[in-house]
């Protein structure tokens, strides 16, 4: 099979899951990494080092900022002349739009937010969560190419091979812009929950002293090299910004280790973290629903237990 792997980036910063998609594409056949934007030399080299057999670059000032229509026009135009069997993407807000529009243009379809893949001749059978992760479905796409977006951290990241080289091809298209980007304010803290290997989250349990509670959670997250998450209750109460929210109305995470501190475990939270590998729950209430999702549970007050746990980890990990 010939596969394209679309490398998603924001202003030149690659989304780590792009490399996972590239790695997954390679398991299906010869893979061309596809890059849109302006000044893409670094990303081109990175794509080769992460294993792309070749790279197709569209370098155009019109594409300097991501816009759904210009990116979709570009992808559609390229796919009208080349014919890969599938295009893989990491699942991000941008690629959902890009894949949706380009697939629509080509009378094909998108298998979105996929957690597992199996080949079936030239076709792909994709597994994806539905109903907030309460069920899974296996889906197929009868159009061509098959557009497949992969959930972050569901597929292994390939090993980077510094200095690796390969063919680089440039193309140009005439995309039509329907929107103008007028300004951008970066987020105060870049919370990259979707790509985090460890997430330590806090909930209503911090209520007695929210600042102290999230300081303890932050310290443990730092010791474990992870990101800080929060339940909706903690965000709604104003203890921590929305960017940290894990759950149905926040972010879906699937780290290797998820530590829930003072989180009761409302359905809305559970759907956001249920695909974590190992879940540790710390809660004062032994009846808290979070324990039904956890491998390890500790009935304790987070204010007394987290500092001790933090200390124990730092000792063991030599930090």
């Amino acid at each position: 099979m010939k596969i394209w792997a679309y490398i998603d980036h924001f202003q030149g910063q690659p989304v780590p899951a792009s490399w996972e998609a590239l790695g997954a594409a390679k398991t299906f056949g010869e893979t061309t990494a596809v890059l849109f934007g302006q000044g893409l030399e670094n990303l081109t080299q990175l794509a080769l080092e992460y294993g792309a057999d070749s790279v197709l670059v569209v370098n155009d000032p019109v594409l300097s900022e991501y816009r759904a229509e210009t990116y979709a026009d570009t992808l559609t135009a390229l796919l009208k002349t080349a014919a890969p069997q599938a295009v893989f993407f990491p699942t991000t807000t941008r690629t959902r739009e890009l894949a949706a529009m380009s697939a629509f243009d080509l009378n094909s379809g998108v298998l979105v937010d996929v957690t597992a893949l199996e080949p079936n001749g030239e076709k792909i059978i994709a597994t994806r969560p539905v109903y907030e992760g309460k069920l899974f479905e296996k889906v197929t796409c009868s159009g061509s190419p098959q557009f497949v977006t992969l959930r972050a951290r569901a597929f292994p990241k390939p090993t980077r091979q510094p200095g690796r080289s390969g063919a680089v091809e440039s193309a140009s298209t005439q995309p039509k812009a329907l929107t103008s980007v007028e300004g951008f304010t970066p987020a105060e803290t870049n919370v990259n929950l979707a790509d985090a290997g460890v997430v330590v989250s806090g909930g209503r349990g911090v209520a007695n002293d929210p600042a102290k509670g999230f300081e303890l959670i932050g310290s443990l997250a730092k010791a474990l090299g992870g990101a800080v998450g929060a339940s909706r209750a903690a965000v709604d109460a104003g203890y921590i910004p929305y960017a940290h929210q894990v759950g149905q109305t926040g972010k879906v995470v699937s780290p290797d280790l998820y530590v829930a501190a003072g989180i009761s475990g409302a359905v809305q939270h559970l759907v956001g973290m249920r695909s974590s590998k190992v879940v540790v729950a710390i809660n004062k209430d032994p009846e808290a629903p979070i324990f039904t999702q956890a491998q390890y549970g500790v009935v304790a007050d987070l204010f007394t237990f987290l500092p001790v746990l933090d200390q124990a980890f730092r000792q063991k990990l030599g930090k």
């Binding site: 889906v139 474990l224 549970g297």
Partner: protein
Amino acid sequence: MKIITCIKQVPDSEAKVTAQNGQPSWGDSPLVINPFDEYAVEAALLQREAHDGEVVALCLGPESARDALKHALAMGADSAILVSDPALGALDTASAARILAAAIQKIGGADLAFFGRQTLDEGTGLTISQTARALGWPLLSFAGSIQVEGSKVTVERVIEEGKQSVSAALPAVISVVQSIGEPRYPSFMGIRKANKAEIPVWSLADLGLQAPAPVVARAELLNPPERGQQCQMVSGETPEAIAETLVEKILAEKVL
């Protein structure tokens, strides 16, 4: 200003959903308006308040989806239209987008068409972009605030990396996020009005469409694998002893 808000009916988030003979089942849990779509209704009402005009709620779904439209009417939408047809089986997103686009055209077009950012059932988030594509209208996604001046709309997009200001000419498709404002509760008067409202039902023939042939199809619906083990409660004499045991167990999992 003419505003259309597209909504969907989904099982309540609290529902226990299971796969039964390849179909999703939510027992006797209620069907509700997709929670993200309530924000789309709110956004539409805020624009009507700022610029006058009318809000039409549009829903594609079975006969039972009337209730979701009634919720939008009770919140304050001026009218509602249900697109429903026995020929509508398992729809893929592109088919849904073509049908919604045709319905929007039949309504007579609009200045703005609102969507919630995602649905709780299939959760693909694809239909919004594909509807914009079918209409040929610009897409302004993840809008946290919206300003319309003359024939131009500017939104502040709330994205992972920060806040981005983006503008387009009307008409436009806009998907909204929660920072648009909490959806208002239906008023008593609103509920009365909604109960009396006539909701026309449009068939595929009314829209000049054939039964769609889906490109994406479900081969299987599965219950998630059971969690292998029960929760192991870690206890000990002192917090220090518990922490030490817990750290050892986590390190043994080799996830760090």
